[in-house]
């Protein structure tokens, strides 16, 4: 029993050691670097939850078959503080996702890049956001 706590502590250390969060291998455990993908579809739902937000989109394949994909993002809290709301990504919005598929074969992906169909990035990062309206449109 004691050993298990030591392990939990080591796991905590991995984050607390000041390593950037992307170094803790969670994404490598969840997603498959050998399965890159590009999805285009209509947003059906945006789960604004912690620890990760999930964008649901309906993706139609060449045969017209629709699959519901879930795309993992970050915590919604920072976005709220930047002024974005749930209305910033309404259902029906068409987006393009470049990322990697889940290891277990389910229709889940991590979105390394999220854009609108015209290529404009969703929710410009705070450093780039000066003067830009939420949603990535330029004013």
């Amino acid at each position: 029993m004691r050993r298990k706590w030591m392990v939990a502590a080591a796991a905590a250390a991995f984050v607390a050691m000041g390593l950037p969060v992307w170094a803790h291998h969670a994404f490598a455990a969840e997603f498959d670097a050998s399965k890159p993908l590009k999805l285009q579809g209509k947003v059906t739902k945006w789960e604004l939850v912690n620890p990760h937000s999930w964008i649901h989109l309906d993706v139609k394949d060449a045969d017209g078959k629709v699959t519901e994909w879930m795309v993992e993002g970050g915590s919604p809290n920072s976005l709220f503080r930047l002024g974005f709301t749930k209305e910033s990504l309404p259902p029906g919005t068409e987006i393009v996702v470049e990322g990697y598929a889940a290891k277990d074969g389910s229709p889940r992906a991590v979105g390394a890049s999220l854009t609108f169909t015209d290529g404009k990035k969703l929710f410009l990062s705070s450093s780039a956001a000066n003067g830009s309206a939420p949603g990535g449109e330029e004013k």
Partner: protein, 326 residues
């Protein structure tokens, strides 16, 4: 207005010789804050209340390439900021698929910040003077190495082998900025200070009445905190950390002293001192400004939205099954 700030700066430098040894940026910050009086709560104590963020790109430890350099010049700081923001961003797509997966998602989700601390120090650690965490004791080195090896061997065996953030448990103490959710709310009530950590909805309720700590046998994720005022500085001493926690190698033996001083309308100076002779060869201290945050704390309900943990374990099981079938 500008003239009076310059006069104050010059007067401050003249009146406090030690300040003339700190860089001009630090002196400017202090001078700007000099003209302001701290608001007080009804019991006459400084008012620390509000929502605060400690986001900064200044690292905890001084990078090796900056050894011996305690402060940036303004020019160097600007260059460091530019370089760090460009290097750290999750929007980079270079380095191949493994790097891409590790960076996970776009940078807009994160709150890493774009600025170093206002006084341009090159590390958050202020003591020891080299800006680095002191060496671990031999006992701690062994402990850390053993648990790291065990974690590598069992990394995806089950939830207890994942880190505390992934498990939605706690971000622990001390209050250090991470890549997101660096927000805290302070509330003062007669006899208590409450510090709410947005991540992961931890509320520390700190009594100020001088009562003793809980017994040694009681161990907690956020330890057991006791507060008192030293002049206009709130001092919080925390002990009784659970051995399930970990801060840079320290767990149950950690003795943490935090100091909160409201130094300006938009700023609290937060200092922490870590003392754990079972882990570190000497105590060490850091200082991080907390600035007024825009907006509010949002509930960081975590466990119920935690698809990722199950996905990590499922992914590992799928990878094992694929290997088995080869």
């Amino acid at each position: 207005m500008r003239g009076s700030v310059l006069v104050v700066t010059a007067a401050t430098l003249a009146a406090f010789p030690a300040l003339s040894q700190t860089p001009l940026a630090a002196a400017k910050v202090q001078a700007a804050n000099k003209a302001w009086t701290v608001p007080r709560t009804p019991d006459g104590r400084p008012d620390l209340q509000g929502v605060w963020t400690n986001t900064t790109i200044t690292p905890l430890e001084r990078p090796p390439e900056l050894a011996g350099k305690a402060y940036f010049t303004p020019q160097e700081a600007a260059e460091y900021e530019k370089k760090t923001v460009a290097t750290q961003t999750g929007d980079r797509r270079d380095g191949g698929p493994e790097a891409d997966v590790a960076r996970s998602y776009n940078e807009f989700w994160r709150d890493r910040g774009t600025k170093v601390v206002p006084d341009l120090r090159t590390s958050l650690i202020v003591d020891p003077p080299d800006g680095r965490v002191p060496a671990l004791t031999p006992e701690a080195q062994k402990r850390v190495a053993e648990t790291a090896a065990m974690m590598r061997a069992h990394a995806t065996d089950g939830p207890e082998y994942r880190n505390l953030w992934e498990r939605c448990l706690t971000r622990g103490l001390p209050m250090l900025p991470g890549p997101y959710n660096n927000d805290f709310q302070i509330v003062q009530a007669p006899g208590y200070v409450v510090i709410l950590h947005e991540m992961i909805h931890d509320a520390r309720i700190i009594p100020l009445d001088g009562r003793p700590h809980v017994p040694q046998s009681v161990r907690q994720w956020m330890g057991d905190g006791r507060g008192h005022w030293e002049g206009d500085t709130l001092v919080v001493e925390t002990t009784n950390f659970s051995e399930k926690t970990n801060f840079r190698g320290a767990n149950a033996g950690m003795h943490l002293v935090e100091r909160f001083t409201r130094v300006g309308p938009e700023e609290i100076r937060y200092e922490f001192a870590v003392d754990d002779p079972t882990t570190f060869t000497k105590p060490w201290k850091a200082e991080i400004p907390m600035t007024k945050a825009e907006g509010q704390i949002f509930e960081y309900a975590c466990h119920e939205g935690n698809y990722a943990l199950a996905d990590i374990l499922r992914g590992a099981r799928a990878a094992e099954a694929n290997q088995g079938s080869k």
